[in-house]
């Protein structure tokens, strides 16, 4: 039971991060290699408020949302927008996000040193599990992470389908040129997508230390799962990211657990290999991701075989 619980919590977080990555990929068409560091940034926001204001990480989720969103906006305005204006290629933009990831790693590392030095408590390697509690025998992190996902989805649904801004947003995701002709400011939607991407990662970051140990370089490891989830989803739709996140997150935890029953617990550290295998299989079979599969055709094809 605890295994499934852990798997669901982990998948919830991967879903948040994959949705963030997919959002910015749809509007800016550059994969954000700094997405993992966005999450670690959120973890450090939570740690800061815990250490200095004694705020429980669950209470700092809104703060993670806001600060993460600001980081997302900063990424777009300071790094990507000037380059896009200069007509940089996609590879140049990818290298820029890779560089931004390194800059963030530098800042996070420096900040962790500073935090250790000023509070005298560990900040270079920390975990929040001791802060967690139980509600009716269910761990709070499961409830909180699921609630965060639900609220995000409901919020996104209302925003995208019930408001004028949402319509404009969807239009400029589908076809930016056409949307621009219709008088929609595509720049706004891009900015908003980066805000949202950072905000979702910030929230995921606040919850991540409940699931795994955080060091400044955690982002470099978790990025593999985020990419796998987004690519399985197809990098082109939020629903895809949702599906991909659960597929990758659940199988990463459950497959490794199943293997650990056979080969011993030593195998647990190789959980990312599972993500990688899923990623490679997806690229070989359905490079455009799950959402590109025409299920009716698949069913027909299966029917014709049997």
């Amino acid at each position: 039971m605890a295994v499934i619980e852990g798997a669901v919590i982990y998948s919830n977080l991967i879903v948040l991060l994959a949705m963030g990555l997919t959002l910015t990929y749809i509007t800016t068409s550059v994969p954000n290699f700094a997405q993992g560091s966005f999450a670690v940034f959120g973890s450090y926001i939570a740690l800061t408020f815990l250490r200095f204001f004694n705020l429980h990480p669950y209470q700092s989720i809104p703060l993670g949302f806001i600060f993460g969103g600001l980081l997302g906006i900063l990424t777009y305005v300071a790094i990507l927008k000037p380059l896009i204006k200069k007509g940089a290629t996609i590879v140049a933009l990818m290298i820029a996000t890779l560089a931004w990831d390194l800059i963030l790693l530098g800042f996070l590392g420096a900040y962790s040193d500073y935090l250790t030095y000023s509070t005298g408590k560990p900040a270079k390697k920390y975990i929040f599990t001791y802060l967690d509690f139980h509600i009716y025998n269910i761990s709070a992190i499961l409830i909180v992470s699921t609630l965060v996902i639900l609220l995000t989805l409901i919020g996104l649904f209302f925003l995208l389908y019930k408001t004028k801004f949402g319509i404009a947003l969807r239009a400029s995701m589908e076809n930016p040129d056409l949307a621009e002709i219709m008088g929609i400011n595509v720049e706004h939607t891009r900015l908003f997508s980066w805000f949202l991407s950072g905000a979702l990662s910030g929230m995921a970051g606040c919850l991540l230390p409940f699931k795994q140990e955080i060091v400044p370089a955690t982002g470099a490891i978790i990025i593999v799962s985020i990419f796998a989830a987004s690519i399985v989803g197809g990098l082109s739709s939020i629903v895809g990211a949702l599906l991909g996140g659960y597929i990758v997150g659940l199988s990463e935890s459950l497959v490794t657990y199943a293997l650990s029953l056979i080969f011993g617990t030593g195998i647990l550290v190789y959980s990312k290999v599972v993500s990688l295998i899923i990623l490679v299989i997806t690229l070989l079979l359905i490079p455009k991701g799950l959402v590109s599969v025409k299920w009716r055709k698949v069913i027909k094809w299966r029917g014709s075989i049997s």
Partner: protein
């Protein structure tokens, strides 16, 4: 640290990084394949030295037991042999380089396969993911190259007195660099090199001339990885202690990208100048890290400052000087040169008449 140490350090790293940067230049600068998994090939070089050559030696000497312990025993035995018989050491260097090249070639060809048909961004993501996961597995798994603690390898230059070891090694690395440079220059001035540039500029055109993009990509990454792997092998033999954690993404993927951006994509002379500028800055930063920390009263380690600085430099280059220090020049072959001369003569004669 005395200046001659700093100078050797600069030349040593210049050699190592230049080999990697040239390999990346073949792949990204010429062929336009953004290999965000360069570190993997360098790690393969380390595995060739620590994992394969070591095992061969263990089998040769018939030592049994745990891999880490056995390689420790082999190290002392082989060191004794090398100190009396230099040819054994030189043979070991050549053997390791050959194994590294082959291993790198095979790995490069395999690891680009899942994404060889895809667009640049998918390619970059997949290569990065594969490299990152392999890095993690070889760090955790004790049977590849000793995992967390690493594995010690024989000192291939045990016959050289300790004081001169670093100088000799720097010379070996620089010699390898010269060969690599000449090879890359030669390779890229063949029709194959020109088809790579064509592929970078416009894949559809290359396709329409009947060339298979996938085959070209696989071949190019295989060659590039073989070269990068040799650099990893040299580095591992130099430290005589292989540990996976020294083959991180920052050091062997991001920094090489920074160097070729700094120097100028698609021309090897530019790349060398970029590597030199980078290495001087990096060696200075690492040499004086304690001085930097104390004079600036930093409440953190100087390595974080290095990350921030190099990250900012990369973005500034992308913004202000995307062509790098030295711009790529068109290749002028003999027929083109004669035609250009003719044109000039025609123009001058027509101007006269």
């Amino acid at each position: 640290m005395a200046w001659e140490h700093i100078l050797t350090e600069i030349f040593l790293w210049f050699g190592l990084y230049s080999i990697v940067a040239i390999s990346l230049n073949i792949e990204y600068g010429y062929a336009g394949i953004p290999n965000f998994g360069r570190a993997l090939a360098v790690l393969m070089g380390a595995i060739a030295v620590g994992g394969i050559t070591n095992r061969l030696l263990i089998a040769m000497f018939g030592i049994s037991g745990n891999f880490a312990v056995a390689s420790g025993i082999v190290k002392t035995e082989v060191n004794e042999i090398i100190s009396s018989d230099p040819y054994f050491g030189i043979g070991l260097i050549i053997l390791s380089i050959v194994i590294a090249g082959i291993l790198g070639y095979i790995t490069g060809a395999i690891f680009i396969l899942p994404s060889a048909k895809l667009s640049e961004d998918y390619l970059a993501i997949t290569l990065l993911a594969i490299s990152e996961v392999t890095f993690m597995v070889s760090y955790y798994h004790p049977d590849i190259i000793g995992g967390y603690y690493g594995v010690s390898t024989p000192d291939v230059l045990a016959f050289v007195p300790g004081v001169y070891r670093v100088y000799i090694f720097t010379l070996i690395i620089l010699f390898t660099l010269v060969i690599t440079y000449l090879f890359a220059e030669k390779l890229l001035n063949t029709p194959y090199g020109r088809i790579l540039r064509a592929m970078r500029e416009n894949e559809s055109v290359v396709k329409s001339y009947g060339r298979d993009i996938m085959v070209l990509r696989v071949k190019t990454v295989a060659i590039g990885s073989a070269i990068a792997s040799i650099s990893g092998a040299l580095y591992s033999m130099y430290t005589a202690n292989v540990i996976a954690s020294s083959f991180s993404r920052v050091e062997w993927t991001f920094y090489p990208f920074l160097m070729i951006l700094l120097g100028g994509l698609g021309n090897n002379r530019g790349v060398l100048s970029g590597v030199f500028a980078f290495v001087v800055a990096k060696v200075m930063l690492t040499t004086y890290k304690y001085e930097i920390k104390s004079t600036l009263h930093l409440p953190f380690e100087a390595v974080w400052l290095e990350y921030v600085l190099f990250g900012i430099v990369a973005i500034l280059i992308l913004y202000y000087k995307p062509e790098g220090l030295i711009k790529e020049k068109p290749i002028i072959t003999k027929p083109i040169r004669t035609r250009m001369k003719k044109n000039v003569i025609c123009k001058t004669t027509s101007a006269r008449s």
